[in-house]
Symmetry: C2
Subunit: 373 residues, 2 copies
């Protein structure tokens, strides 16, 4: 556990602000981690990422194992050196991608065999092999192999939970590097008793941080919130809580309120590539025709390079002309929106004003914002 | 002519170093101008462009007239404000694109009618209308409408030359903004007498700078060099000479030797999107498998962000994984290679050592460089 130290610096209701000390620097929590699937946060240089306040970033073991190969990255000095990101990195185990992306997967108690989505080649992940892959990659935070089932099938979830828990123990036993922190993952679908049971089991193991998996996969917001409440009531207060795959602004607010410390999501960069800006009032589709002569920045309150420099009209032009710069400028803005938001949440917690902040925020937030605003 | 002042600061043989004073800053010549076809140098922010030493950039009237429209850009404050580039900008007349890109064009003495390559809509360019379009865009340097014929058809070139010359006079008469410099264009295919005649005619008009058009369109290097020598022997020494559409490193050296001051080309950014690096020894295709574990930068002598920060192995990974960042990092490197090269040519002229510099450079340059180097 020496690779990671978590310090809670303020509390406000269930919410916490903290500091996560990693071998590559300190992460202020709550934190939003942009996703660099293939060892690059799409369309951004590491320098741009750093300038817009990203601290922790995520990379995907599944993708990097397939291409260029985790051993290749190890031989090149590890992921930090490979992608020139000197800040903290988290890698997932690859389990989620095996279940969502790979072809013809076959699960057994020992692991999962699957075909690469790239070339159909056969691969096998076991708890031990995903730890080895992640030790080759060398991220600061690594994740256990888990099974991520559909959230509504109780019997399947019960079964999957046993496997996820056994795999968690095996990952812990397989781990050999002292400069990496291995996080366990709580599963259990939308079933409070399974979630409670999973949280208790994972918390009983020697994980310096704990993730909540299998949410934001089709369940309702109320179900998601309920599961987070159940789990966080069980998890020890002195370890960071990481909600995997969640990144919409309203979700960040709702889940920080409920005690989550860490988030990651492809949302800001994926929306950017689809011409959509995240703002604190909702999403804007920059291809909309009212923007053709709109001289305002995307968000007048935003301090990012994009909003300091470019009009909506220019960004709309880049989108309609299919220029790569559109994705870059919107990614900068979208990530900045989320890093600023978690920073403001952190401040509100320190000021013991989170409830008011959250109520205000959520009252103004609409998923899709009108172009006129 | 007050919008532009050209100062020759050093001469070495036929080559010159100079300063081009524009309303948006001073350009040191020889200069290579990256191309921002649709008001963006593809895959780069203006900040990145500035950091890698770009001074003058080019934008295309044809593209911007069709989308988003030159009047729209005028209403948004002009091209500098629209694309947030506060340095000097040059726009071409759109003529070259009408001849290379538009559909179903019909030429007459008065202008050219064509269909947009985007939606088939009908448009017409005349000498007067391309000046108006470029006045709407508001670049520092604007270009006359010219006809760019196949280089080997003498009769057609003779005919086209009359039209190009008549259009040059009409553009000059149509020009109304005093803060823009209009350059004339010399044509004449590969025929020395036509080139000489065209240079003499264009030089006789009141253009503060003169371009050489219709080269690098299929003729041999020797033919290109011969045409430049013929033209530059006629052009007045006190006006800048701009060779349109040329940007390969060896061509820059050869043509600066022959008295050219300004260049533009899509080559560095187009090659970047095709995974190819320009270096002073030749091109490298970064997808080549020997690069998979090559920890060296693309070019150990290059000072660009890409070469300071990333290995060939990482860039190869980005290329094979089809990541946008590949185009950004290679564009940075390729443009830096050319801006550094023209800077070194400038210095060699100031030191009166251009002949040695050029001989050395050309002796080491191979179009396609071996991956092992």
């Amino acid at each position: 556990m020496s690779a990671l130290k978590f310090e809670v610096t303020a509390q406000d209701g269930s919410a916490r602000a903290g500091l996560l000390h990693t071998p590559h620097g300190v992460v202020k929590t709550p934190v939003f981690a942009p996703v660099g699937t293939q060892a690059t946060v799409k369309a951004l240089t590491p320098l741009q990422l750093q300038e817009l306040g990203a601290s922790l970033i995520l990379a995907n073991s599944y993708h990097l194992h397939l291409r260029p190969g985790d051993e290749t990255i190890a031989n090149l000095g590890g992921l930090h050196q490979f992608m020139s990101w000197n800040g903290p990195i988290l890698t997932d185990s690859g389990g989620f991608q095996v279940f969502s992306l790979a072809k013809r997967r076959q699960l057994d108690a020992d692991g999962v065999t699957f075909q690469s989505h790239l070339d159909g080649s056969e691969h096998r992940f076991t708890p031990e092999s995903v730890v080895e892959i992640q030790e080759n990659l060398g991220a600061d935070i690594i994740m256990t192999l888990d099974e991520c089932p559909q959230p509504y099938d109780r019997e399947y979830n019960q079964h999957a939970l046993r496997r996820t828990h056994s795999w968690a123990e095996r990952c812990l036993a397989a781990k050999s590097r002292s400069d990496q922190a291995l996080f366990g993952i709580v599963q259990g679908g939308v079933f409070p008793d399974l979630r409670e049971q999973s949280a208790a089991f994972i918390a009983s193991l020697d994980f310096p941080g704990i993730a909540i998996g299998g949410l934001s996969v089709g369940e309702t917001p109320n179900e998601m919130h309920a599961m987070i409440e159940v789990v966080n009531a069980v998890l020890p207060a002195d370890r960071p809580r990481y909600l995997m795959g969640v990144g919409a602004p309203n979700d960040l607010v709702e889940c920080v309120l409920r005690g989550v410390d860490m988030f990651d999501c492809v949302l800001p960069t994926r929306l950017a590539r689809n011409h959509t800006a995240l703002t604190r009032l909702g999403r804007l589709n920059l291809r909309n025709s009212p923007f053709v002569d709109d001289q305002r920045p995307i968000d007048g309150t935003c301090t990012c390079y994009t909003c300091r420099t470019f009009s909506r009209a220019y960004i709309r032009h880049l989108c309609t002309a299919k220029e790569m710069l559109a994705a870059t400028l919107l990614s900068i803005h979208n990530i900045q929106t989320l890093t600023t938001l978690v920073g403001d949440l952190r401040q509100a917690i320190a000021d013991a004003k989170l409830e008011d902040f959250a109520a205000d925020f959520l009252a103004n937030y609409r998923k899709h914002r009108s172009p006129e605003i």
